[in-house]
């Protein structure tokens, strides 16, 4: 199955019955799959008139207690970000996917990871976060979107699948999860009182500053719990690793081959793969920094994750960077060459901007 199709089918198995979409490459297969299947199972597929309309329809369906989803690619996610902020402000669960392409602007339609900052830092205005999951295989795409619906409901907040044109377009074998049997209760949903309870309100407007502060601070406590309990990662050959490559999603699968090749040359390399990008797996990475000598971030952008790695390890080690952007895919041979340089005691700053981060030779 294609990554995008596996995502759509798995979402349906997770109980998603409403999909509001707007076509954009390289995400369109998600919408196409939903349009085929949803009418057959009593669900709703609707192609909205714009991305902004789609995300506001998500808001409506979520308010009514449904499991709902939308998906897009980078420029479309920018348009949807206003609605994401409103979802967060109203404590509404929803799942959305960003099948990233090159940016900024209309950019390219080839695979990219250059929306990392947007996903983990600034997906709209206000004090808020969304859960961000980054699959590196088609299988993981299916597994993570399924889980995202549960987590979104559990924490009453949006969860995002941050994938890219490579993972979305490629076909790999996949075992799909079983259809969910029981959905969680949503006593807060605005789905009719039946004259039996006080009516619920879905709202993000608080004109009383003190009241808004209380609500935002309370929400932050929920975020703290998530930071403490929801960090997800995979550590590969890191036990005795001196050089630790940090990569997520598509660039992680490329880096994994480079780590294996380096090991065959006797270089003690390992791969740390964040699966949740927010919350970032700080604790495990800090632990690894105790035994590692140096880090190499490999990304399909200009080094946006470097900040998070530095924060996680409290700047106790150098964080080098190698990447491609704009839709260019890094090769595992290039990553291996970087590992070899680090083994030889050199620094790797593919992008001059990052030279100031190393405190090294610049």
């Amino acid at each position: 199955m294609k990554g995008n199709e596996a995502m759509a089918e798995s979402a349906i198995r997770a109980g998603c019955r409403f999909f509001f979409g707007y076509p954009i490459t390289p995400q369109t297969e998600v919408s196409a799959y939903m349009s085929k299947v949803m009418p057959k199972i009593g669900g709703l597929f609707l192609q909205a008139e714009s991305e902004v309309a789609a995300i506001n329809m998500v808001y409506g369906a979520s308010s009514a207690g449904a499991r709902v989803m939308t998906s897009s690619s980078s420029p479309g996610i920018s348009l949807k970000s206003e609605g994401v902020s409103y979802l967060c402000g109203s404590d509404l669960p929803a799942v959305f996917a960003n099948v990233e392409r090159g940016g900024p602007g209309l950019g390219s339609i080839q695979p990219s990871q250059s929306d990392y900052y947007q996903a983990t830092r600034g997906l709209g205005h206000g004090d808020f976060h969304v859960l961000v999951y980054a699959p590196s295989t088609v299988q993981e795409t299916a597994d993570l979107i399924y889980m995202a619906f549960d987590k979104a409901d559990e924490y009453r907040m949006p969860a995002m699948l941050l994938t890219d044109g490579m993972i979305g377009q490629m076909m790999e074998p996949v075992v799909l999860p079983d259809p969910i049997e029981k959905l969680p209760e949503k006593p807060w949903a605005t789905n009719g009182t039946g004259m039996k309870r006080v009516h619920n309100i879905s709202n993000s407007l608080y004109l009383d500053a003190q009241k808004l502060e209380d609500i935002v601070v309370n929400r932050e406590k929920r975020y703290d719990k998530i930071r403490a309990t929801e960090q997800k990662y995979e550590a590969y050959r890191t036990e005795d690793a001196e050089i630790v490559v940090v990569a997520f999603g598509a660039s992680a699968r490329i880096s994994r081959n480079a780590v294996d090749a380096a090991r065959e040359e006797g270089i003690k390399a390992g791969l740390f793969r964040p699966i949740s990008l927010w919350p970032f797996p700080n604790d495990a990475l800090l632990e690894i920094a105790k035994s590692a000598r140096t880090f190499l971030s490999v990304e399909m952008n200009m080094g946006q994750m470097v900040d998070d790695i530095r924060l996680a390890i409290h700047d106790t080690r150098d964080v080098n960077f190698f990447g491609h952007t704009g839709g260019v895919i890094p090769q595992s041979s290039e990553v291996l060459a970087c590992i070899q340089k680090l083994e030889a005691g050199e620094h790797v700053h593919m992008v001059p901007f990052h030279s100031r981060y190393t405190g090294g030779d610049q």
């Binding site: 339609i109 080839q110 490579m166 377009q169 490629m170 076909m171 790999e172 074998p173 595992s332």
Partner: protein, 177 residues
Amino acid sequence: MSTIEMTLAGFGGQGLLFAGKMMAYAGLIDGKEVSWMPSYGPEMRGGTASCSVVVSDTAIGSPIVTEPDVLIAMNRPSFLKFIDAVKPGGTVIIDSTMVEDRPERTDINFFAVPATDIAEENGLKGLANVILVSKLNKELGIVSDESLKAAVPKCVSLRHQDMLEYNKQALEIGAQQ
């Protein structure tokens, strides 16, 4: 074999993406790691289409093939675009009905199969792609013959199930080239 990386390229409509899927499915049936990745872009009908297929004994990193072990080219633009990228010692198969050029390189195994003509002569119009895949597997044995046959019903869509037999015939003819 540890890893075989393939590029299949031609005009949109010649069935290269389908042919690639057959190889990937056959590899899957053989218990290998497989990936299939289309080139996607602002293409138009009659433009070029290509896909990358990887069949491996180990986990696959990038599914995008830039230096293929195998190239199947079904039109001239594809042949010219990818011929220099093929790894030394690699295998190149062309549909010589469509491509008159021949490689200048001598460090590759080269096969010219007039697949489109052969398909037409045998009443299998549109199945030159399958003939070429079968030829490829005969030369390199990337997957087992049984698995390649078993992959056909997995790849042919439900509304084209009447084409199953033709596909199997094309596989047999391809293996005789």
